[in-house]
């Protein structure tokens, strides 16, 4: 098989072989994709199974069905991961956006409203400590996350660090030590 872009190759095969079978599962997958944006990790498998089954039934070759399925799964997984990360980055940016001007002990509200209104959240962010260093300005912050606007909406307290990056303040907490990655990867 080709070394580059297994997804592309298999998509091409499917289009040649059974163009009608393609559009139905893809169209079915799209609303699901929009609905479960925050942390939907199974969608790739579902889309892969749908397209794999569709193309498998149109061809006598089981390998082709499998190839289309796994190629679709890879493509959808990568897309979901990209979308989820951009959304999470936007939330991180909102949490620390105002901490630059905030003295130690002071709080300010934060809020994220996504273009697709799923996973909107808000809370307060408090500067608990300056992190004095020679490279840039950094602060340790504790923030709350309230997922929703109801009185019983789930909430949590979290701590992180933020540093000044040019004119902006950005999330600065580095990744965990690799022995602690385990199931994260």
């Amino acid at each position: 098989m080709g070394d580059r872009g297994a997804g592309d190759g298999t998509l091409g095969l499917a289009a040649v072989n059974k163009p009608a079978g393609w559009s139905r599962p893809t169209a079915a997958a799209l609303p699901a994709l929009l609905l479960c944006l925050p942390g939907c990790t199974d969608l790739g498998s579902i889309a892969g199974a749908a397209t794999g089954a569709a193309s498998g039934s149109g061809s006598a070759n089981p390998a082709l069905g499998y190839a289309v399925g796994i190629g679709t799964k890879a493509a959808v997984d990568a897309l979901i991961q990209h979308i989820s990360r951009s959304r999470r980055r936007a939330e991180q940016d909102q949490i620390v956006v105002a901490v630059g001007a905030l003295p130690v002990g002071q709080s300010t509200p934060w809020r994220i409203r996504h273009a697709i209104p799923v996973g909107d959240a808000h809370g307060d962010v408090t500067v608990v400590r300056d992190i004095p260093n020679l490279l840039t300005r950094c602060k340790e912050v504790v923030f709350t996350v309230v997922a929703g606007d109801r009185p019983d909406s789930p909430r949590g307290y979290y701590a992180t660090s933020a540093c000044q990056h040019g004119a902006q303040w950005k999330w600065a907490l580095a990744e965990p030590a690799t022995p602690r990655w385990g199931v994260l990867q």
Partner: protein, 166 residues
């Protein structure tokens, strides 16, 4: 080995694509071979899925090892410093690199010492060129001394905050 070819070609960045593409490529290749010798769809898919999982685990293991090297080089550079001192760090060179070689500056912002514990809070920069201009992103982490070596000590995020990480 086509998979190794893919690995070494996609030298830097794009680890998600590498993870997805490499694993899918192996699965598809496996399924094609299986499909050539058997007409049983279940066997074909089984062989393909098995290879897909194995390749995915392989890519993750390589990625983790490369990243551990980078964490070790940052911790080693920061270990001898005291508060207010700076040093440079570089992630070094790899035979197969799934991440670009990174470098930057680091400094110690706080000593965390209690009992036998010897830890430091450090601030480090990752220096890159963005649109022909030098760009510095800053991050904080904690390192602790384990015998003679300094190791990265930051734990994983709270599970409630994993969300899109997985």
């Amino acid at each position: 080995m086509p998979l190794l070819g893919v690995l070494s070609l996609l030298l830097s960045g794009c680890s998600a694509l590498l993870k997805q593409g490499g694993a899918a490529g192996a699965g598809v290749a496996g399924a094609s071979i299986a499909g050539a010798v058997t007409k049983d769809a279940a066997v074909t898919a089984g062989i393909g899925l098995g290879l897909n999982a194995a390749a995915s685990a392989g890519v993750k293991a390589i990625e983790k090892r490369v990243h551990r090297t980078e964490q070790d080089s940052i911790a080693a550079a920061a270990g001898p410093l005291s508060v207010g001192q700076t040093a440079t760090w570089s992630s070094g060179h790899y035979k197969i690199s799934v991440e670009s070689n990174e470098h930057g500056e680091l400094t110690v912002s706080r000593l965390i010492r209690t009992g036998n514990l010897d830890c430091k809070e450090i601030v480090f920069s990752v220096d890159t060129i963005v649109k022909h201009k030098p760009d510095r992103a800053f991050y904080t982490t904690i390192i602790c001394r384990d015998g003679a070596t300094w190791k990265w000590a930051t734990a994983e995020p709270a599970t409630e905050r994993w969300g899109s990480l997985q």
